[in-house]
C-alpha cells in the first residue's frame, strides 16, 4: 500500500459501515429479548386469590429481603423468591418502592364491637385476645379455619381469664368464671379447654400500683393453674403488674407475660433469668405510656387520614386514664434490658384500653418497641414471626411457602423508616384484598 488514494478506494472504506451494522444487529438482538409482563402499581383495584407482588422488599417475619417476588395461589403463599418463574397472565402488583410483610399480629387485645374490622383495616390480620367472652371467641373460630373473603381479622383467644371473685377482669359487666383455691385449678383449666380457649391467661393484680386494693389469686392457686394448663398442653400467660410478681411467676414456670411491669426496672441479672427460662414478654407499651399519661393516641390520630378511623377507634384513642400510673421510662428500660438479654418480645397493644385503638395502635407499638432498642426488623418480627412462634400458630406471621396469604403492603422502606408501617397501600386477608374495609360506613350528615 504505497498510495493513500488507493486505500481510499479500497473495500476497507466499508469498515465503519460494517462496525455500525454490527452495533445495529447487537441492539436488535437486545430488543427482541423477553421482558417481564407488566405489573400494575398499587393504588388501583388489587388482585385476589391468585396473583403476585413483584420486585418488592419483603419482610419475611425475620428480616428484610429486597427485590423479591411473592406468589399467592389459592389464598396461600406459593413461593417467595427472587425472580420467580411466574405463569403467563398471572395478575402482578408492582412492588417497587414498597415493603410487603405478613399481616401483623396484635398479641394483646380484648375483642369488642367492630374490633376485628378496625384491626384488619390497619393491617392487623390476626389478634391474640387476652380475655373476651368464650361465646364470642367460639363464634369467630370457624373464620380462622377457612380461606374466604371477609372483613375481619382472625381471632385466637384465652377466652375466660383466671381471676379471683371480684378480681381484675370482673369489672366489665361480662360474666366471668372465677376460682379461689389450688384444688379448683385442674377443673377450671379443663373447662377453659372445653370452651375452646387457645391458652390460659392468669391475672395477678392486687391493685397496689394504682392505689386500689382488689382481690387476687394467691400464689398457690396461680402455680396450680400454670401446672394444670401445662397438663392440658396449653400455654399459660400472666398479667402481673409488678416486677416482684413477675419474677415469682417466672419461678412458677409461666410461659409468657402479657404486660411489662411499670413499677421498677429489671436488673440485668433478672433479665438473663427471663432469657434462660425461654419466656416471652408482650410489653404493651402502648397502654403503659397511656397509663403514665403519655398516650400515643392523639399523635396516631393526627398521622392518620380521618376517613380511615372509626368512631370507636377515635373514642378509645382519645380516652385517658383517671390518673398517671408508673412511668413509661421504667417500662421502656425494662423492655430494653429484656431484649438485650435475648428475651422474646411480642408486639401487643391492650386495645381498647384508654389511649389505644384497635389496629391503629399496632403502628404506635412498633415505634415504642424501637424506642426500647429493637431494630426495625426486630420490632416487625415481634409483630409477626416471633408472635406466631410464641403462640404456636403455624400458618401465619411469615411470608413463606404454604402460609396463609395475610399480607400488608406499605409504601416506602420500613427498614430505614418504621413509621412508614402506617402508609398502607394494601391489605390482603386469606388472599383477598380488604381495601373495601378502608371505606368506613359514613354517618349521615
Amino acid at each position: 500500500m504505497s498510495d493513500v488514494a488507493a486505500a481510499e478506494r479500497s473495500p476497507w472504506r466499508r469498515d465503519p459501515w460494517i462496525a455500525l451494522a454490527a452495533v445495529a444487529v447487537f441492539a436488535g438482538i437486545v430488543m427482541i429479548l423477553p421482558v417481564p409482563e407488566p405489573a400494575d402499581p398499587p393504588g388501583g383495584p388489587l388482585p385476589e386469590t391468585n396473583f403476585a407482588v413483584v420486585d418488592v422488599t419483603v419482610f419475611d417475619g425475620e428480616a428484610f429481603r429486597p427485590h423479591r417476588d411473592v406468589w399467592v395461589e389459592d389464598g396461600r403463599i406459593r413461593a417467595v423468591g427472587q425472580r420467580l418463574a411466574l405463569p403467563d397472565g398471572l395478575p402482578r402488583v408492582d412492588g417497587r418502592g414498597h415493603t410487603l410483610l405478613p399481616g401483623l399480629i396484635d398479641a394483646h387485645t380484648h375483642t369488642y364491637g367492630m374490633m376485628l374490622t378496625d384491626a384488619l383495616r390497619f393491617g392487623v390480620t390476626t389478634v391474640f385476645d387476652q380475655f373476651t367472652m368464650p361465646s364470642l371467641a367460639a363464634a369467630k373460630r370457624p373464620a380462622r379455619e377457612r380461606l374466604a373473603r371477609g372483613d375481619e381479622s382472625d381471632l385466637f383467644s384465652a377466652g375466660n381469664l383466671a381471676t379471683a371473685p371480684g378480681g381484675h377482669g370482673t369489672q366489665f359487666g361480662v360474666p366471668v368464671e372465677t376460682l379461689t383455691t389450688p384444688e379448683e385449678a385442674a377443673a377450671f383449666v379443663r373447662a377453659r379447654k372445653e370452651e375452646g380457649a387457645d391458652w390460659v391467661k392468669i391475672v395477678w393484680e392486687d391493685g397496689g400500683t394504682f392505689g386500689a386494693d382488689i382481690p387476687t389469686l394467691d400464689r398457690e392457686t396461680i402455680a396450680a393453674v400454670i401446672e394444670a394448663a401445662h397438663a392440658e398442653e396449653l400455654l399459660a400467660v400472666i398479667h402481673a403488674s409488678t416486677l416482684e410478681h413477675s419474677l415469682a411467676a417466672l419461678d412458677m414456670g409461666i410461659d409468657g407475660f402479657v404486660h411489662v411491669w411499670g413499677d421498677e426496672v429489671i436488673s440485668e441479672a433478672d433479665a438473663a433469668r427471663f432469657a434462660e427460662a425461654g419466656v416471652f414478654v408482650i410489653p404493651t407499651l402502648s397502654v403503659r405510656v397511656a397509663a403514665a399519661g403519655e398516650s400515643m393516641g392523639p399523635a396516631l390520630l393526627e398521622a392518620t387520614e380521618p376517613e380511615h378511623v372509626s368512631p370507636m377507634q377515635r373514642q378509645t384513642l382519645t380516652q385517658t386514664f383517671p390518673r398517671p400510673v408508673g412511668t413509661s421510662e421504667a417500662a421502656v428500660e425494662s423492655v430494653r434490658r429484656l431484649h438485650a438479654a435475648g428475651v422474646r418480645i411480642l408486639a401487643g397493644t391492650d386495645a381498647p384500653n384508654p389511649g389505644t385503638g384497635f389496629g391503629i395502635s399496632m403502628h404506635g407499638e412498633l415505634r415504642l418497641l424501637e424506642r426500647a432498642g429493637l431494630s426495625a426488623a426486630e420490632a416487625l418480627a415481634a409483630a409477626t414471626g416471633v408472635a406466631a412462634d410464641a403462640f404456636g400458630v403455624e400458618d401465619r406471621g411469615r411470608l413463606a411457602r404454604g402460609r396463609i396469604a395475610d399480607l400488608l403492603l406499605v409504601a416506602g422502606d420500613l427498614e430505614s423508616d418504621l413509621s412508614r408501617s402506617a402508609a398502607i397501600a394494601g391489605v390482603w386477608k386469606d388472599g383477598f384484598p380488604v381495601e373495601a374495609a378502608w371505606t368506613l360506613p359514613q354517618e349521615p350528615q
Binding site: 469498515d15 429479548l33 420486585d55 427485590h67 423468591g81 425472580r83 420467580l84
Partner: protein
C-alpha cells in the same frame, strides 16, 4: 515514507479511526484463523451456561440462578478475549518481532490498542448476544429492556479494565510465560471472582480476597443491574475497578519502556 506519514497524520481523527478499524479487521481475521483461541473463547461460556443455567434449572420455580449466571458467565465471556488478546497476543507479537515491524508503519499506537480492545469487544459481543439469546429463549430469563441494555453495556465496558490486566501481562512476560500466566489468571480469577459459581458459596476469607480481582468488581456491577449483587455500593466497585485498571496500565507502561529501551 516520511512524506506518507505526514500526509496520513494530516488526515486527522477520521483517518486514524479508519486505520484503527483496519487494524481491528486484521486482528479479528487473525484470531478467526486461530481456532485454539476463537473456539474456546466463544464456546466455553455458552456451554457452561447451557449446562448450569438452562439444563440444570429446568422446571425450577425461581429464575434467580439462570439470571445470576447470565451476568457472571457474560463477564466470563469477555474475560477470555480481553486478557488472552492482550496477554498472549501482545507477548507473541513482540517476541516474534511482529510488534517491532508494526512500529515501523505509520499506524499510531492508539490504533493498535484500539484494535486489540475492539477485537475483544467483538468476541465479547458475540458471546454476550449468544448468552442473552440462550437466557431469554431457553432459560426463560426476563429482564426489563433497560436492564438488558445496561447489562450488555456494563459487560462490554468491562473489556477495558480486563484488557488492562492482559496488557500488563503482555508487556512483561515472554510468549511462553504469558500463555501460562494468562491461563492461570484466567481460571483463578474466574473461580475466585464468582464467575463460575456464586461468590457467596465461597468461604468468607475468599470472598474478601475476591476484592483484588477486577473481574469480581465487574461481576458485582453486572449483578447490580439485575439486583443480585452482594449489596456493596456502586462507588466501591467503580473505585476499586478504576484503581486496579490504573495500576495495570502503570505496570504495562513500565514494561513497554523496558522493551523500547532494549
Amino acid at each position: 515514507m516520511a512524506a506518507h506519514s505526514a500526509r496520513v497524520l494530516r488526515r486527522g481523527l477520521f483517518w486514524q479511526l479508519r486505520i484503527a478499524l483496519l487494524e481491528t479487521r486484521f486482528q479479528f481475521l487473525g484470531y478467526l484463523r486461530l481456532p485454539a483461541f476463537a473456539v474456546p473463547t466463544l464456546l466455553f461460556p455458552l456451554f457452561f451456561y447451557l449446562f448450569f443455567g438452562v439444563l440444570f434449572q429446568q422446571g425450577g420455580v425461581s429464575l434467580t440462578a439462570p439470571t445470576y449466571m447470565l451476568a457472571t458467565y457474560a463477564v466470563f465471556g469477555v474475560l477470555a478475549p480481553s486478557i488472552f488478546g492482550f496477554g498472549v497476543g501482545l507477548a507473541q507479537e513482540r517476541d516474534t518481532g511482529a510488534l517491532l515491524l508494526k512500529r515501523t508503519t505509520p499506524m499510531p499506537t492508539a490504533a493498535y490498542l484500539f484494535a486489540r480492545v475492539g477485537v475483544a469487544m467483538i468476541f465479547g459481543a458475540v458471546v454476550v448476544a449468544s448468552l442473552f439469546l440462550l437466557a431469554g429463549f431457553a432459560a426463560g430469563v426476563e429482564l426489563h429492556r433497560w436492564q438488558w441494555f445496561a447489562l450488555a453495556a456494563v459487560i462490554l465496558a468491562g473489556v477495558l479494565p480486563l484488557s488492562a490486566v492482559g496488557l500488563a501481562i503482555g508487556a512483561w512476560a515472554k510468549q511462553q510465560a504469558a500463555v501460562a500466566v494468562v491461563n492461570l489468571l484466567f481460571i483463578g480469577m474466574s473461580v475466585l471472582s464468582g464467575l463460575w459459581f456464586p461468590i457467596h458459596m465461597l468461604p468468607g476469607f475468599l470472598q474478601d480476597f475476591a476484592n483484588v480481582f477486577p473481574a469480581y468488581h465487574l461481576g458485582q456491577l453486572a449483578l447490580k443491574v439485575i439486583d443480585l449483587d452482594l449489596g456493596r455500593p456502586l462507588w466501591f466497585h467503580l473505585a476499586l475497578l478504576g484503581g486496579q485498571t490504573a495500576v495495570c496500565l502503570a505496570v504495562a507502561a513500565a514494561g513497554f519502556r523496558r522493551f523500547s529501551g532494549r
